[in-house]
Symmetry: C2
Subunit: 176 residues, 2 copies
């Protein structure tokens, strides 16, 4: 029986301030980014290198606007459309994954090596990532029962995080 993978400290990637963890990936140098761009048959430009490094070093789940602000700090000449276009291209080539919730602006993250889904607090916006092979297996099973070849899925759980549960209880008792 496969167990749900639970990190020793829940990966709360965010909080009231919408801060998220910074990624601690192995440092990818410029030439690695160039490889990525060349794999897509695109020309290597400073703008694209900047965007990739922003995605790589920055926090996960950034909006296009946020990426634009990050790269603008290093090169004020860079255009918004360039960021948008490249994010779309990266998404189409699956180097980046687009996450959309409700009608909010799309958020982007480097496509994670190990697939994960999201558990989001409806009260404060915290995002926990999780991975559950049992659920994945059942999804495959459902698809195959309908004769589908599964290509991808979106699983977003919404709930109230422990902190917000406490906060609500505190407020409730204060109110009485």
């Amino acid at each position: 029986m496969e167990l749900t993978k639970i990190p020793t400290l829940p990966k709360f990637t965010g909080g009231e301030s919408r801060e998220e963890r910074t990624l601690s990936r192995e440092p990818l140098d410029k030439s690695a980014f160039k490889q990525v761009i060349r794999k897509m048959n695109l020309k290597v430009t400073d703008q694209r290198l900047l965007i990739l490094s922003a995605l790589h070093e920055g926090r996960t789940h950034v909006t296009a606007q946020e990426v634009y602000e990050i790269v603008s700090a290093k090169d004020p000449e860079i255009g918004f459309a360039t960021v948008y276009r490249f994010l779309r291209t990266l998404t189409e080539h699956h180097f980046v994954t687009e996450v959309r919730m409700g009608g909010l602006p799309a958020r982007y993250e480097m496509t994670p090596q190990s697939h994960h889904d999201h558990l989001t607090c409806v009260s404060c916006g915290k995002i926990c990532e999780f991975e559950n092979h049992e659920i994945e297996a059942l999804q495959e099973k459902v698809a195959s029962q309908f004769g589908f070849e599964l290509t991808s899925h979106v699983l977003e759980l919404y709930g109230v995080c422990p902190d917000c549960q406490k906060r609500k209880k505190a407020k409730a008792s204060f109110g009485n």
Copy 2:
């Protein structure tokens, strides 16, 4: 062990033309719609009754634009904003469920009595509905492991439907 519920005929709700099945609910009369509106502490208007009947009789997963066109046919005076506003209100009160896929316009359906998730064909847009209690149970488990109280979830599976698989194979062999 709970089995995935599979209808005798897969509920293919759509096809190339984006047609979807019409619902065969027990006929709700006007007074039932009035009840729904009154439950929300809203005033009963002809427009709202029209919108409800369009949602009830029409196909599932309609866009606001489609609802507008349906009700326009019966009452050309009706405004787009009225449709939008009422769909939002219905959604907030959980009488209607909003489904968003990618950046496409939101689609609405009467909130299903038995919860179901969607299996969508990325090639032709067909939507199959399914229900899997094992997956639901595992979702609860994951949430509780993070200390969350689960309030809702979105599970969308994407794949290639049997028809499109055949079509692609046919095209491939024709090409050689």
